[in-house]
């Protein structure tokens, strides 16, 4: 009896719920670290060369890599469910060629924009079905998809580029409310996806699937269907990323940036998405993309070879994964 009274008294003086900042850090630790790194970098490089925060350079940093952030949103969802997709770079290349070809062939602009989203969803539906129902590990399925998409792209295009794109099609070069379209895409999609994953039952279930699939199944979550759905959503984001990728320049090349899929996966991982599944947010993946872009630009501004960018990112990956492992060990998971 006395112990209960004591306990009640203690809980009155020291609230059981930790403070706001402590909770924030417990939940968004990695995101806060990445954000702090961005702010610090901006402060340091701006002191070296104030042109770093000129409006033009901010546009280059935030807008020029937005397509990677958009692709990383879908990737983050896939990784949260405990899967991975190494084919997204090749998929974006294929979708860009489809979209550009439609635009040049005179189809309505909205159709050329819609096509990559729909096709991306269809392709990833197949991948999702193979993963969820044929029970093939996602890395194997998507490695296969990578080869098929990359080979198909080169065979179909023969290496030729798409030129003469209609000016109205080039949405990534336009502005909404004085802001570059890619930036708006990135921010709006990140926030929508973040709210969806945090506050809807469907969104929450992705964490359950990645965290403990058996428990998720026991609570009645249809794991197979949700896995297909998350790949389809990832395909839609790949399609949206394609719209930005394809319209940034006046020509669409039949090649995709080398290692694009690795860049996208890395953004998710450094942003705090656990490579083991079950945790992480898309706010983190978007911040990580911005961090890469900031590092890349900063290296030029402080005259350091771009080779350091890859070295720095490599170290960041190791540090992030290590921190993730330690956190899990601490929790006894």
């Amino acid at each position: 009896m006395t112990t209960t009274v004591e306990a009640t008294a203690r809980s009155r003086t020291a609230p059981q719920r930790p403070g706001f900042f402590k909770r924030l850090f417990a939940e968004y630790g990695q995101e806060i670290v990445v954000l702090a790194a961005i702010v610090m970098l901006f402060a340091i490089v701006t002191m070296v060369n104030p042109r770093f925060i000129s409006a033009n350079n901010l546009t280059t940093i935030f807008s020029g890599n937005a397509y990677i952030a958009v692709a990383a949103i879908g990737m983050a969802m896939v990784i949260v469910t405990g899967n991975i997709d190494v084919s997204v770079g090749a998929l974006i290349g294929v979708l860009a060629t489809i979209s550009g070809s439609l635009a040049v062939a005179g189809y309505p602009i909205w159709f050329a924009w819609l096509a990559p989203v729909v096709v991306g969803m269809a392709v990833n539906a197949i991948i999702g079905i193979l993963v969820a129902y044929a029970r093939i590990p996602s890395i194997v399925v998507t490695l296969g998809a990578l080869s098929i998409l990359r080979g198909g792209l080169i065979s179909v295009t023969g290496g030729t580029w798409i030129t003469d794109l209609p000016p109205d099609y080039l949405i990534a070069q336009k502005q909404i409310f004085g802001l570059p379209v890619p930036l708006v895409f990135m921010v709006v999609l990140t926030l929508l996806a973040a709210f969806w994953m945090r506050y809807t039952a469907f969104g929450r279930s992705l964490y359950a699937i990645g965290g403990n699939a058996e428990a998720a199944l026991a609570t009645g979550i249809p794991i197979a269907r949700r896995t297909v759905a998350v790949f389809v959503i990832h395909g839609a984001f790949a399609g949206l990323a394609t719209i930005l990728f394809a319209t940034q320049l006046q020509v669409i090349q039949s090649t995709v940036p080398p290692n694009l899929e690795l860049t996208v996966i890395t953004a998710a991982v450094i942003g705090g998405v656990s490579i083991l599944g079950g945790s992480g947010t898309v706010i983190g993946s978007t911040l990580a993309t911005i961090l890469f872009a900031t590092i890349g630009s900063a290296l030029i501004f402080v005259n350091v070879s771009a080779y350091w960018l890859r070295a720095v990112i490599g170290l960041l990956i190791l540090a992030t994964v290590l921190a993730d492992m330690l956190r899990r060990r601490g929790r006894g998971a």
Binding site: S54, Q250, T255, P257, N259, L262, L276, G296, A306
Partner: protein
């Protein structure tokens, strides 16, 4: 645990470049350079004995109409359509060559070997080729020489002893001179420029940049080399890197060199979107098709590459001269119709000449 290994590998792939990192990077390699003269004086060819092959028991073909097959890397792409057109033009002009082009539909060495083998069997007087693999193609070409067929390469060489001559489209120092001279013509002899290249380890780009540095120091010493940035073969990264250069240097930056056909259009797009056309020049290596929008809009004035129509044209004339016996081992030049005298370099190669600078007036004539 498997996932942890995966992510470690991922990290490793990004950090392998660490060992390559160095503090100041111009982007060039450390090989010796050989800058050309500042005026149009051709390079003095270092004497090197003929190292090509010879056909066995070739019949006397002097002045006779010869049957020639041209086997490019692949057919159906603009570049080899252009070389094929050059060969047809030369054949028509000479009136003594029956030339046709027949190549694999994909750039596949096995298909190319089979094709050449079939033509050896069916009987031709001459073979023109652009090799998909310099070593793998050698045996079948030697077989052709053994059958008394004249063999001349262009665009992509084989081992020297597997063919008689090779028409070399451009040497590194020639490209470097054309690039730097074009830039100097646009931004003046004291302008500052930067370079967007693919990677530190791409051999051709590193060679070109080293020759550009040597030529610029020799012939345009007051031009200012700001920095070289790498952008892999990534168009959006090339665009972002070009933008960052523009943002960093502001009005000081007068020109950007694009070292690849990926980087050059991306740099042109960056300049266009930054509304710097006319104040920042873009000069680069690229195919005309990729550059037409920018050249057409007047934002890019000089695109440097060789002319593939001339390349095919020269190859046909070289083959004719070989069949006639007018181009024999030890020769120092060969007449190639409207192209005039072309010089012999490196023992058994014919240099096409200075690279072509594509501009608003001529770019519409090319489709590759």
């Amino acid at each position: 645990m498997r996932n942890v290994v995966l992510s470690a590998l991922l990290a490793l792939s990004f950090s392998t470049s660490l060992s390559n990192a160095q503090s100041v990077w111009t982007g060039g390699d450390d090989l010796p350079t050989n800058p050309l003269a500042c005026d149009a004086t051709p390079a003095t060819a270092a004497a090197k004995p003929y190292d090509g092959g010879q056909p066995t028991n070739a019949p006397d073909r002097k002045g006779k109409t010869i049957k020639v097959v041209d086997v490019p890397k692949l057919v159906g792409i603009g570049y080899f359509n252009a070389t094929s057109k050059g060969i047809a033009d030369a054949a028509k002009e000479m009136g003594s060559m029956d030339a046709k082009t027949d190549g694999p539909s994909k750039a596949n060495i096995d298909d190319q070997i089979t094709l050449i083998d079939n033509y050896i069997t069916s009987g031709v007087d001459g073979i023109l080729f652009a090799a998909n693999d310099p070593v793998a193609i050698a045996p079948v070409l030697k077989k052709a020489l053994g059958a008394g067929i004249n063999v001349v390469g262009y665009d992509a060489n084989s081992s020297p002893d597997a063919r008689q001559w090779f028409v070399n489209q451009a040497e590194f120092n020639g490209i470097a001179k054309a690039m730097v001279d074009s830039m100097a013509a646009e931004i003046g002899d004291e302008g500052a420029f930067a370079i967007v290249t693919s990677t530190f380890t791409t051999p051709n780009q590193a060679r070109w940049i080293a020759e550009m540095a040597a030529y610029q120091t020799k012939c345009h010493p007051k031009m200012k080399w700001l920095e070289t940035v790498e952008a892999q073969e990534d168009n959006i990264l090339s665009f972002n890197q070009s933008n960052t250069l523009i943002n960093k240097y502001g009005d000081e930056l007068k020109g950007i060199f694009g070292m690849t056909s990926v980087a050059t259009p991306a740099a042109a797009d960056a300049v266009t979107q930054a509304k710097k056309c006319g104040s920042v020049a873009v000069v680069g290596l690229a195919t005309p098709n990729a550059m037409k929008p920018y050249v057409g809009a007047g934002c890019v004035k000089s695109v440097v590459l060789w002319n593939p129509v001339d390349l095919g044209y020269a190859a046909a004339y070289v083959l004719r001269a070989v069949a006639d016996g007018t181009l024999a081992p030890g020769a120092t030049s060969v007449k190639a119709g409207k192209l005039g005298d072309l010089s012999v370099i490196n023992g058994s190669e014919i240099l096409l000449g200075a690279p072509t600078v594509f501009n608003k007036d001529n770019i519409g004539n090319f489709d590759f």
